[in-house]
């Protein structure tokens, strides 16, 4: 037991969790914490909007696998975090959010919780449905334990954001603090071993399968199960399709990789999953963007579903073999029960079919390039970036083009807002990823509409020396919405025209960053080359046609066989 103020205890508890960086913005109700921060070893990265602090923490977590921490003051500071927290929740990302709060008590009953004090917001009430757990500290002495608990809950099981709300008077209150290593939560079980009988049943199905297929989601990345997935897929000769969240968990230059499945999945992935007789779905929650119309999804296939969150099993898709368990352990267990009974094949009709479908697409891809088409830009970008470079995306056409045409080879190298679909996520997430992995190239594949939503954090990237590259696929449109209006609303464009503003080169320069506008593929390559060597953030403005659509596409409400190839 040591006596110290709450704010100091918070810093010490964070250091004990090995926190090296915090993304945040200071304010009235969190002043004591920011004062204690000056005496700690933790680096604070001053963002320009709290939403970006949360996204940066999220990007940090996804790139590194370590929890990301963001911090804000009470009221608007806290509510500005909300989009970022919701985003982390939907994509199961371990983000710790710390918010200041008005006093729990004050002698004159003003500036106190429940009195609608200045900058008071019920952030616990607001974030309850979008956090894995949240807690308002009641006594300063609880701080060490709550921090420990927050990190434990956020990073174990199915990860997710945890928010700690810390009233101002507790930050200054001197109290006896106990830093324990032990933690027990009776309502929470973090490790789940797959049931051996279910594993055996899954193995039996896979053994008999003629056309097995893997659908891999973000859970494979979270549990670092890529090696296990690769081993099992190769043993089964099963093509591997990923969800958007799973992209990168299986090398996309592998003969068995067929890319993403779903609304803007590849043609081969959508065709193959419908032809499969056994689908091994791992670490995916069968989002509507993945499955299309539910009752047409893999109707005749047997589905094995592995997920660590039992509530995901049977939530959207009825499955034949549910397995509650960690992806890594479960894939390993399935492999073990198969490896002595299944001989690795060199070829089979199913594998030939996979190659045939993949070949068709290759043939189509190699023609018709030359101008500034998203596909050729992203293909070139892939060639220029190292294998371990991290790509983030915004949301909309830029994201779907990136998913389709930018091949990811390693887990944690493709970071995108999958569940919430947050425009403005990619740039701050790139900053977070760069802080987590300073030695890697980090590129945000952006659209003009998305980038404008969080571009003010060019300031933090310059001030904090976090150089990333932003590639703005600039069609002067809210492109994906325009595409839907073009296809489904008879080209009646409503509120999608963004005009030719701003001048992104000047915008970048106004912040002390570097900007290029490119007019050809060779200029694009030149700009990317310069960006990769630059010590400041680079914005590459790439004008593209505003009529360019993302294809293939499955119209909303349709099944996967309703795919429009374009």
């Amino acid at each position: 037991m040591v006596k110290m103020p709450g704010a100091k205890a918070l810093m010490e508890a964070l250091e004990r969790q090995n926190v090296k960086e915090i993304f945040g913005i200071c304010g009235g109700a969190i002043l004591p914490v920011y004062d204690a921060l000056l005496d700690s070893k933790i680096r604070h990265i001053l963002m320009r909007h709290e939403q970006c602090a949360a996204h940066a923490a999220d990007g940090y977590a996804r790139a590194s696998g370590r929890p990301g921490v963001c911090m804000a003051t009470s009221g608007p500071g806290a509510t500005n975090l909300v989009t970022g927290i919701a985003n982390a929740y939907m994509d199961s990302s371990p983000v710790i959010a710390i918010t200041g709060q008005v006093n729990t008590f004050s002698a004159n009953f003003s500036y106190m919780i429940g009195k609608d004090a200045f900058q008071e917001a019920d952030i616990i009430g607001i974030t309850t449905p979008i956090t894995k757990y949240n807690y308002q500290v009641k006594e300063a002495s609880e701080i060490p334990k709550m921090v420990k608990l927050a990190f434990y809950v956020a990073t174990t099981g199915r990860p997710g954001p945890v928010l700690i709300d810390l009233p101002k008077n507790l930050q200054t209150q001197n109290d006896e603090m106990e830093f324990t290593e032990e933690i027990q939560i009776r309502g929470y079980k973090s490790t789940i071993e797959p049931h051996p009988i279910q594993v055996k049943r899954a193995a039996e199905f896979l053994l008999k399968a003629e056309r097995p297929m893997v659908l891999a989601g973000g859970g494979v990345i979270i549990s670092n199960a890529s090696p296990e997935l690769l081993t099992l897929a190769e043993l089964l000769m099963a093509p591997v399709a990923t969800t958007l969240m799973g992209k990168g968990c299986f090398p996309e230059n592998h003969p068995l990789s067929v890319g993403n499945v779903g609304m803007h999945g590849t043609s081969e992935a959508n065709k193959l999953i419908l032809a499969a007789d056994v689908v091994l779905a791992v670490g995916t929650r069968f989002s509507d963007r993945t499955t299309g119309k539910l009752d047409e999804f893999c109707h005749d296939a047997k589905i094995i579903h592995i997920d660590i969150d039992s509530a995901e099993i049977g939530k959207n898709v009825e499955v034949d073999i549910p397995i509650v368990g960690d992806a890594k352990g479960t894939l390993k267990a399935i492999h073990q029960s198969l490896v002595h009974r299944l001989k690795k094949k060199e070829s089979c009709p199913w594998f030939d079919r996979v190659q045939e479908l993949k070949g068709q697409l290759q043939d189509k891809a190699d023609t018709s390039e030359g101008s500034l088409k998203p596909r050729s830009l992203l293909t070139e970008l892939r060639k220029m970036l190292p294998e371990d470079a991290i790509v983030t995306t915004e949301v909309g056409q830029n994201q779907m083009w990136a998913a389709l045409h930018f091949k990811a080879y390693k887990p944690r190298t493709f970071i995108s807002s999958g569940g919430l679909g947050t425009m403005g996520f990619g740039f701050p997430a790139a900053l977070g990823a760069k802080v987590a992995c300073p030695d890697k190239q980090v590129v945000d594949i952006a659209g003009d509409g998305s980038f404008i939503m969080t571009e003010q954090d060019l300031a933090s990237s310059v001030m904090e020396k976090i150089p990333v590259t932003v590639i703005v696929l600039n069609n002067s449109m809210l492109g994906m919405v325009a595409q839907w209006q073009r296809l489904f609303y008879n080209r009646r464009y409503s509120a999608v025209n963004l005009g030719n503003i701003p001048d992104f080169v000047k915008l970048a320069e106004a912040y002390g960053a570097q900007g290029f506008s490119v007019g050809s593929l060779s200029e694009f390559k030149e700009a990317v080359k310069k960006a990769m060597k630059s010590e400041v953030t680079t914005v590459v403005d790439v004008p593209i046609s505003s009529e360019e659509d993302v294809f293939p596409m499955i119209p909303a409400g349709s099944g996967l066989q309703g795919m429009i190839e374009g």
Binding site: K132, G187, A311
Partner: protein
């Protein structure tokens, strides 16, 4: 594969942390996921830091399964059990204020109350208040009987329930 599944009422017992905000987290989960709470009753348990929630929910098997999983997922919820309707004691309590304009109405209401093993707990010149305990059907039946007299106000607790026998929904200390 999906047969038409029957909607019916299920009773769920949840042992939760007895601290502020937990009821909000539970009710908020129901609202956000689109599950309907028919009734909920909450009270402390024999262990001081635990509370017991008895929740009745309408839905088919699939919905109930999701309700239980989503409830169990909440960190402040420690244990969730679906009570077996064939092996359970359920009770609800209601206070019913009935308009009784004359002595005859009063004596009728008192007679009905006696038949239902209910008790009169308050009397005024123009009304009687009756306390009745039983399963919800019994309370419905009593309230229906009171309607012709004029039901002025009803307060019902919602169902609370325990399974029969020695087995218990309990947390080891």
């Amino acid at each position: 594969m999906i047969a038409m599944m029957k909607e019916q009422t299920h009773i769920i017992a949840a042992i939760v942390e007895h601290k502020p905000g937990v009821l909000y987290k539970v009710s908020n989960m129901f609202r956000r996921r689109g599950f309907n709470i028919e009734s909920i009753s909450v009270g402390p348990t024999e262990q001081r830091d635990l509370a017991r929630m008895t929740i009745t929910v309408n839905g088919d098997q699939k919905i109930i399964e999701q309700v239980i999983k989503q409830l169990s997922k909440l960190i402040d919820v420690i244990k969730v059990s679906k009570l077996d309707p064939d092996n359970i004691v359920t009770r609800e309590m209601a206070l019913v204020k009935v308009h009784t304009s004359d002595a005859r109405a009063k004596s009728d209401v008192i007679n009905y109350a006696n038949i239902f093993r209910a008790r009169v707990v308050d009397v005024s010149p123009e009304s009687l208040m009756v306390e009745i305990t039983g399963d919800p059907d019994k309370i419905d039946a009593f309230i229906n009987l009171m309607k012709p007299f004029g039901v002025k106000e009803v307060a019902r607790t919602g169902i609370t329930a325990l399974s029969r026998g020695a087995k218990s929904v309990k947390i080891e200390e």
